[in-house]
């Protein structure tokens, strides 16, 4: 194998994903590990106490959470649309879909902020409250970073610095946005949904 002929074609093939895109893939992997470690901590502590939530704290509110979960997850749709529109060079649609996803993310973050200001307990009460607000807070931080990235990309689009040929920034941002949405499925299921079914 090592002595095989040169496996190099002459014509430039598919350009493949950019190095920045691959960098984001690896960054997301390590970020996912942070959430995995925190959710493991959540279940580790949950398994070691007789009642959950600890200390008779109320179970997480469900109705509003479900609505805003749907909004956050659905915000990936305009982002996918944006990527398709960008390939076709339809910059009007790119602008519209980016703005729509931004507003949906902002609504989700607004709901988290509302929860935080109207909560029954702070994160200092016990291990349950620390885990709950710690993990929710970290995810909210990721949404915030996603919104800042979105704002940067939108300014670049409006200034004409994005085109079907210059697509790296929106492409990398899209990947991050999908990650923030996807990881919420696990956070939501573990933190908000599962206490209603467990002890």
């Amino acid at each position: 194998m090592s002595q095989a002929t040169l496996p190099v074609t002459t014509a430039p093939r598919d350009r493949g994903y950019s190095t920045a895109w691959w960098g984001m893939v690896v960054l997301i992997t390590t970020e996912a590990m942070i959430f995995l470690a925190l959710l493991s901590a959540y279940f580790f502590i949950r398994a070691s106490v007789p009642r959950w939530p600890i200390g008779g704290l109320p179970e997480p509110e469900l109705h509003r959470s479900v609505i805003f979960t749907v909004i956050l997850l659905a915000s990936s749709i305009p982002i996918v649309w944006m990527e398709v529109a960008l390939k076709r060079g339809n910059m009007r649609q790119v602008k519209g879909t980016l703005l729509l996803a931004f507003l949906m993310g902002a609504a989700f973050l607004g709901n988290t902020a509302y929860d935080y200001t109207h909560m029954d307990f702070g994160w200092r009460v016990n291990a349950y409250s620390s885990l709950f607000w710690g993990i929710i807070g970290l995810h909210a931080l990721h949404v915030l970073v996603g919104l800042l990235m979105s704002a940067t990309v939108q300014v670049k689009v409006w200034l004409g610095k994005v085109s079907p040929e210059r697509h790296t920034t929106p492409e990398v941002f899209a990947l991050y946005w999908h990650f923030v949405d996807g990881v919420w499925i696990f956070v939501f299921t573990s933190l908000i949904l599962s206490p209603h079914f467990g002890r």
């Binding site: 090592s2 002459t10 093939r13 502590i45």
Partner: protein, 636 residues
């Protein structure tokens, strides 16, 4: 054969104009050249190495005789904490990243890392986190909870001073450097290999750095979480580890060792990668069992994520879990053994030349054998219960972390420093240094096994006379100074070589890999023309090394990216077919500013000054937005 000869003088002048950094202070702060950053990484890490070594020697003076009063108990605690923390976080990991930064782009025939500015950022973060940690000495409150900082001892109210905060915050801080460095390595290795360098033609050292980085990506988050939760408990009053609030102290150990054990291999694997480069060259024979060695590296990486509980055998974990983790800890010796036999086989079939680098490699084999055997011993439950927290364990992990990492690193210095500085080191002084270190190391650390059997516990600042420990402790102390002297001899050798050393030819060792195909030291652009690889040992082939030329044959103009354009080719991840070109950014202050911003956040947390933290975040965020504003494609 050597590419450098093909550059004519006029072209060389133009290239220099295009590539050379500004002189002096601006160039110092804004360079993005992987070679400058790599060397700087290595220098900085070695400053920490000698600092932590000096700390260890003071501890040995304290322990030389029973009931000494060189150090107070508090200072002793601070010293062993700082010694371990420095060696793991500020020496071992960064020095390996430094060698990787310097060598990987050269070995894969590229011109820089995939993200040159991120590379600079990761260096600045490393330096700033080191400064932050060491500033604890300046204010007289160094961390004192051990390098592992177990709760509840390190949590409030048992450690209420600022000491542990320095540790927790520095660990999270330096983790950022390790992580972004790992991202950079992974993308560089997958996407920037010279055309034709398929995965199974990659030098084993490149494999080892790929495995190092992948492991870091999966392991570092655990220690980041462990230390972050500790700091949240300490600074903000949460209850993650407070038993009274339903928290768990065992959770800390799980999180810490989920990183901590892979970390041992994160440090060890690149060291074995270096050995796999040195041994074939000085045996004049290609590495025996290349595929086996590469597979073993990957196997070790996987298995190492299933052994962390063997650090917790004495914590009351359920028996079934103990058996599982004990078994996995024994299994990991198999891939390690595969590598060992590959090295022996290479030497067996070749003709061994006993140069200094090779001596360090052979010394490593002997030390690693001993450290590996004691590793098997402590993997066995009843044995571990007998020796845990004794000097036996201290002996074991110094055999693997000091012996089996530092010896390959010193071998790497003798092997690659001529490439980096363009000066040959003295072989004579090198050999004296090796023998001093080798004898000093074994006489210092071997008796610790016996001290452990005799019941001497770890982390005690002194002991009574008449326990049978006095003589051995004195021997250990004297030998540790011998070891230190041996290391200083190499430092002296380096300084001497800068003034008096012979100039290094491009390939002083008649080696096989691409970094030897360019001058010593290499030009800023590494290769005037990108090499084309057709085998695992490009410089040992019958035919001269091929380079990418413009025109239809044999490669597209795409690959023949001239150094004048300041670009490098991007190739497919698996079989390295050319895909695109990637621009190399101009020097920039932004990485330094961004690192300062991140540092501001951590200083703000440390001194509980919200304003500093907010300013830090603001500066960091602005720098990053500015940085990402002009991407590679915007520059074209």
């Amino acid at each position: 054969m050597a590419i450098h000869t093909k550059v004519n003088e006029q072209l060389e002048h133009e290239l220099e104009e295009k590539w050379t950094d500004e002189p002096g202070i601006p160039g110092f702060f804004n360079t993005v050249d992987h070679k400058r950053i790599g060397i700087r990484y290595i220098y900085t890490a070695f400053i920490f190495f000698f600092a932590a070594g000096a700390i260890a020697l003071v501890m040995r003076v304290q322990l030389a005789q029973p009931n000494s009063h060189v150090l107070s108990p508090q200072t002793y605690n601070e010293f062993f904490t700082m010694h371990g923390t420095t060696m793991i976080f500020l020496f071992n990991t960064p020095v390996l990243a430094g060698f990787g930064n310097y060598l990987i782009p050269l070995m894969i025939g590229s011109r820089d890392m995939a993200f040159p500015r991120l590379n600079a950022f990761s260096y600045w973060v490393f330096v700033l986190s080191g400064i932050l940690l060491y500033s604890s000495f300046v204010i007289g409150h160094a961390p004192d909870g051990g390098w592992f900082a177990y709760v509840p001892l390190t949590n409030t109210p048992y450690s209420s001073g600022i000491n542990i905060d320095f540790w927790g915050i520095a660990v999270v801080f330096v983790g950022i450097s390790t992580t972004v460095g790992a991202i950079n390595f992974i993308v560089t290795i997958f996407k920037l290999r010279a055309p034709g360098m398929t995965l199974n033609r990659m030098p084993i050292y490149v494999w080892s750095m790929l495995v190092f980085s992948l492991m870091a990506i999966f392991a570092v988050p655990a220690v980041t979480v462990a230390a972050s939760l500790l700091e949240l408990d300490r600074l903000f009053g949460t209850s993650f580890y407070h038993v009274a609030g339903g928290g768990s102290v065992l959770l800390y150990q799980h999180l810490f060792w989920f990183w901590g054990h892979p970390e041992v291999y994160i440090l060890f694997i690149p060291a074995t990668g270096m050995i796999s480069m040195i041994i074939p060259v000085f045996s004049r024979h290609r590495l025996a069992g290349y595929i086996w060695v590469a597979t073993a590296l990957v196997a070790v990486a996987f298995i190492s994520f299933g052994v962390w509980v063997h650090h917790m055998f004495a914590t009351g974990v359920p028996a079934l879990a103990l058996s599982f983790f004990s078994a996995v800890s024994l299994i990991i010796t198999i891939p390690s053994g595969v590598q060992f036999f590959a090295w022996i086989g290479t030497m067996w079939k070749g003709v061994v030349q006993f140069r200094t680098a090779m001596l360090f490699a052979i010394g490593f084999l002997l030390i690693f054998l001993l450290g590996g055997i004691t590793g098997v011993m402590v993997a066995i439950l009843p044995f571990d219960w007998q020796v845990t927290d004794s000097y036996f364990v201290v002996a074991h992990f110094h055999y693997v972390l000091n012996g089996a990492v530092v010896f390959p690193l010193f071998g790497a210095i003798y092997y690659w420093l001529p490439k980096m500085t363009g000066k040959m080191l003295s072989e004579r002084l090198g050999k004296i240094s090796f023998w001093t270190m080798f004898v000093g190391f074994n006489v210092a650390f071997f008796p610790m096994h016996i001290l452990g059997f005799l019941g001497m516990p770890r982390r005690v600042y002194t002991y009574d006379a008449g326990l049978g420990w006095d003589g051995l402790n004195l021997v250990v102390t004297i030998a540790s100074f011998v070891f230190g002297l041996g290391a200083l001899l190499t430092l002296f050798n380096f300084l001497w070589s800068q003034r008096h050393g012979e100039s290094a030819p491009p390939d002083p060792w008649r080696a096989d890999t691409l970094e030897w195909a360019t001058t010593s030291p290499p030009p800023e652009y590494n290769f005037a023309k990108i090499p084309v690889v057709t085998s695992r040992d490009p410089l040992w082939d019958e035919q001269p090394l091929r380079v990418a030329e413009p025109g239809p044959e044999p490669l597209s103009a795409l690959t023949a990216t001239g150094a004048l354009e300041k670009t490098m080719p991007v190739t497919e991840g698996m079989d390295a077919k050319p895909q695109a070109t990637l621009g190399i950014p101009e020097p920039s202050y932004l990485p330094f500013v961004a690192a300062l911003g991140v540092g501001g956040l951590f200083v703000g947390l440390l001194v509980k000054a919200a304003l500093i933290g907010v300013i830090g975040v603001g500066v960091g965020a602005l720098a990053v937005v500015w940085w990402l504003w002009r991407t590679d494609e915007d520059l074209r």
